[in-house]
Symmetry: C2
Subunit: 199 residues, 2 copies
């Protein structure tokens, strides 16, 4: 172990970052069943002792890795419903792309069964749901959509559609047209909402 | 091992079914990283020898379990686009519900990395995509939607929305309103499509 990483010394944030990234990748590849401190240390290119110095358990390591490295949905508040939803669709496409995307999908499946991670993940999901609903509520307040719009259907088709697209589109095609797809998806769904509420 | 299960004797289809179901459940719980013949045998309540008599490897066991036990999307052909899409939404809700639903989600993530399962899974996905696209193409032929409808956006929002709903709704609430949700989802999206293509 390098002296600079010994107890009582300042921790190197670059090493923290590298370990967190390696932890997400191991989790993406093997899930919780294959998640081991030793595997993460090897992937990050650090000693196992160096890892235990920072994290005392697999649970706290994975929780911190999710917090540090996983993109998440936040409320951008661009001033229009259309702008906010395009941001939201883009964030979902980012989250479900690449190795962090596989980690995010695995969390959906496994978080409830991982001690210590479940509560953290539930709180993260609740805050994302809250952010997404706030976007639509502001649109209603500004009169951009009617008050009787189905917030649940709009958000499930938007988030689910973007997720499905990210999971089934080849990486190169996905990267080439992320913002174009987000725009077409939102136009498609907003047209549905404005027509139906005007009935 | 019971004599009736010895080599050369007729295999009991009920035992096959029980093993296939146990295999899907183990895969749902732990993914490929935790998938072992011994664990499946224990879960199914059969001897390990009884399992190896039927399947020589984990790969062939999981492939057969997926074929035998996993619900899949098929083309119902009810005569109308609306009717076909409601069937499709219902099938997706069924697939992503319960323990087989977790197995289906895991396959999305892991199939490509499991030798022998990847090709089988790709063929299954291609046939499902084909069935879904045939539904929309028949709707176009019958004049129920315009020829310039975005088939990809319609199917990604429908399948993604249903999947998202199944993955995020508590099981009891989901079971109580599966067909109601399928209907609302299809009405929501078909309105979008018929308006936009009429522009």
């Amino acid at each position: 172990m390098p002296a600079s990483e010994g107890p009582g010394r300042r921790r190197d944030p670059e090493v923290d970052r590298r370990i967190a990234q390696a932890a997400l990748e191991v989790f993406a590849d093997t899930g919780w069943a294959g998640f081991a401190m030793e595997t993460v240390a090897r992937r990050a290119g650090v000693g196992k002792a160096s890892l235990y110095l920072r994290w005392s358990s697999k649970e706290t390591l994975l929780t911190d890795a999710v917090t540090l490295r996983l993109a998440r949905v936040f409320d951008a508040d661009t001033g229009t419903l259309h702008g906010d939803l395009v941001q939201l669709a883009g964030q979902v496409l980012d989250i479900y792309t690449g190795s962090t995307g596989r980690a995010a999908s695995r969390l959906t499946l496994e978080a409830a069964a991982i001690p210590g991670v479940a509560a953290h993940y539930d709180a993260m999901r609740a805050s994302q749901r809250h952010a997404a609903r706030a976007i639509v509520r502001r649109g209603i307040d500004r009169g951009e959509v009617a008050g009787n719009v189905s917030v649940t259907l709009l958000l499930e088709t938007l988030v689910g559609g973007a997720m499905m697209h990210a999971l089934t589109t080849p990486p190169a095609a996905l990267a080439a047209d992320t913002s174009g797809y987000a725009l077409r998806l939102v136009d498609f769904l907003l047209d549905a909402v404005t027509t139906q509420t005007a009935h």
